[in-house]
């Protein structure tokens, strides 16, 4: 996980409230792309950075999640 270690630490500590309900692609300490689909965020970020450094995640939505 060394390639994305910094991105994961950033994910844990940063405020992502502006991305609620969206997929985000993080590289190091920066969100490079966001959107409604995983592939959309990934493809846009891959144009700007080495794909092996991209950490993809979907940020929790505004609503409480009960499955």
């Amino acid at each position: 996980m060394s390639g994305v270690a910094k991105a994961y630490q950033y994910y844990l500590n940063a405020d992502f409230s502006q991305y609620l309900g969206k997929w985000v692609a993080i590289v190091d300490e920066k969100v490079l792309a966001s959107g409604p689909t995983a592939k959309g965020a990934y493809d846009e970020a891959a144009k700007k950075a080495d794909p092996s450094k991209i950490l993809l995640t979907r940020i929790h939505s505004k609503q409480m999640m009960i499955l």
Binding site: G3, L20, T37, A38, K39, L55, T57, H60, M64
Partner: protein, 144 residues
């Protein structure tokens, strides 16, 4: 040995309490290569699940027919398989797991990656410490 992860705390708005999410970072592996993701540990999910567009990045082949699935609104799913690698410090485990590929309605936001029981959670003894926002995962060697 055990692997320890922190919950993600997420602020939503001024009126609601922050959400604490038991998620971990893993590497998903498919025919087209690996993708690093953060997935939600979900003990209520029968198996792992990923959205369709992520399955496309990984190059996963669908092995089952589309079927309705409960718990994710109007979504449908189809079965496939992939590998998941989870690492922490010097400890690392790679697991071949069944996965449900989720087809969301047109225009809907795709759901998060779900790390469910079959093939993944059942390979560990897991402790959720909500008060300390900590997850501890202890590897269970396969039964002989």
């Amino acid at each position: 040995m055990a692997m320890k992860f922190k919950y993600k705390t997420l602020k939503r708005d001024a009126r609601t309490l922050p959400v604490k999410e038991p998620s971990i970072n893993v590497r998903l592996l498919g025919p087209k290569g690996p993708v690093f993701i953060v997935g939600l540990l979900d003990t209520g999910s029968d198996l792992c699940a990923i959205p369709k567009s992520l399955a496309e990045i990984l190059g996963l082949k669908i092995t089952g027919e589309k079927q309705p699935i409960s718990g994710l609104g109007q979504a449908e799913g189809a079965e496939s398989s992939m590998e998941i690698e989870v690492s922490h410090g010097r400890e690392s485990h790679r697991l071949a797991v069944p996965v449900m590929i989720i087809y969301s309605p047109e225009g809907a936001v795709e759901p998060p990656v779900i790390l469910g029981r079959s093939g993944f959670l059942d390979a560990f003894e897991i402790t959720f410490n909500e008060r300390q926002s900590r997850i501890t995962m202890k590897w269970l060697p396969p039964a002989r």
